[in-house]
Point group: C2
Chain length 307, copies 2
């Protein structure tokens, strides 16, 4: 996790920009250009998403340490959309950003080998080694247990990658299973403890392992509880902004050095122009940068200097 | 679930062929052709996977009701692999097979709308409606609760689709979370009961809802337990063959009419030539058909006539 943490310290910004680009968010002029070139097709839509992402990344890369493309918003535009996901990852990495692919993948061991190769590792093609997607980090659903995590762990160790395992998610119905008690512990705490175990031999310079956890800002008390109980587990915190969480909620995710967490904002950044006076959709990139600066100040006001 | 059930009755075969095509499984002559055309690239690999799948589908479509492509094995070959997934789905559907995309997707509500559009529904592109992947069914991880299921349910109702939610998975470490007790019920039973609830207003002609569950053949006692407790939930049963389960294990998944479950075999069918005397990799399609017939007979020997 050190690579991410160093980017956070360098930018003094514990924020990750979610790139969940629905076509509705993309300004008309970009769509018109792409439809003119590729037609009103999945290819045209995917080209528009990538143009939109590029402009967002250009506006953010020097002040935001990481991006988190959400796989679903690319898959809905077919393989053409998935091609835009690959291009987005490449572009963000070329700009020096840390890339977390939000895929929430989780499967049996042999299949996780394939997901690990796809998203964090390399694929062998007749003896040649090729990078398929090549993110720095992947979100993971741990419902299947250790089998599902192991293939990723070896890439964490050998290739300096990380993962974030779902513990307590930000959505309203997350408690249906996650808040239930197993003995005297909730399911989310049980999952969090598994993260501590899985990460135990990948602890880096800042005390955090390569196995992080997803814990929503929409449940600040649980965030506080897990921060105390999981001292080596870095948190990816969704739920800030559009989902209702604020800096006062997210603050519990951090340790005394201002580390321990990175807070996601997707729509809040992508669609920031809607909430800024005098802006139109054509100003989305400038508005995204302003919102990213506002969010950084908002978080630093509760976190203090990150060291 | 009626569409799947009718295919099962028509073919008298409660089997789904898993299409998890690693490049290693593809005969040299197919790879040589595809590499000659596209180079030793992800494009070349993806073309080889699709050729392999087409020949398998041609060998199976009249005797096996369904295929289950596993998304991971396509993603590992990049967007080019995902394009081969889309082509495979189209090809299998054109041959009349029921297609279950094994993606184990699971996310918050807004994101599940995107996954639902991607895999079961349609995507809007500037007013035009386009099918991105268009499977009949999707496997789902329910760790996030009802929010994650709802967007899929409306497609189940409106477009005659189905889903299979992970309950008790076939892998060795599945018990780490799934076997833990919540009150007097295991996590897998709790998840199974949620499936009964989610499916309650989509019950079809055969008594099964559109919300199925994944329950592994490698845990026959739990399969038997869940069959009794979840009378409206159709099971997708992995773990037969390469993972160690046999017909004697899988039999508990079925009801007295021989319905209630479809049993998956992936490597067992794809790599059947390895276990058949005198066959080489060039005979993979013929061997796959022979294995599918053997598996059908094996399952029918414990299930009886399907009606």
């Amino acid at each position: 996790m050190d690579k991410l943490i160093e980017k956070i310290i360098e930018t003094q910004n514990p924020t990750v920009a979610g790139l969940d680009p629905k076509l509705d968010y993309v300004p008309e002029y970009i769509k018109a250009e792409c439809f003119a070139k590729y037609g009103r097709t999945l290819e045209g839509a995917a080209a528009a998403l990538f143009e939109f992402n590029k402009k967002l990344i250009d506006a953010l890369y020097d002040i935001v340490p990481a991006v988190k493309p959400q796989a679903a918003y690319y898959e809905m535009y077919g393989w053409q959309g998935v091609k835009a996901l690959a291009a987005t990852i490449d572009y963000a990495k070329a700009k020096g950003m840390y890339v977390i692919t939000d895929g929430k993948r989780g499967d049996i061991g042999a299949t996780m080998e394939a997901y690990a190769a796809a998203h964090l590792g390399t694929t062998d093609v007749g003896g040649d080694t090729i990078v398929a997607f090549g993110a720095d980090s992947l979100t993971v659903n741990g419902y299947l247990g250790t089998d599902c995590i192991k293939p990723l762990l070896s890439l964490c160790k050998d290739k300096d990658k990380s993962i974030f395992v779902l513990a307590k998610t930000s959505n309203p119905s997350s408690g249906e299973l996650q808040d239930k008690k197993i003995g005297d512990k909730t399911v989310y705490e049980t999952m969090g403890e598994m993260c501590e175990g899985w990460g135990s031999d990948t602890i880096g310079r800042y005390g955090y392992s390569a196995v992080g956890a997803v814990v929503g800002a929409t449940y600040p008390e649980m965030l506080r509880e897990l921060r105390e109980k999981l001292p080596h587990t870095f948190f990816l915190v969704p739920g800030y902004g559009a989902q209702g969480g604020g800096a006062e909620d997210a603050k519990y995710a951090f340790d005394e050095n201002g580390l321990g967490a990175i807070v996601n904002s997707s729509r809040g950044i992508m669609c920031a122009w809607k909430k800024q006076d005098g802006k139109t959709e054509d100003d989305f990139a400038e508005a995204a940068r302003e919102e990213a600066i506002r969010m950084r100040e908002d978080l630093l006001s509760v976190v203090g200097e990150i060291k």
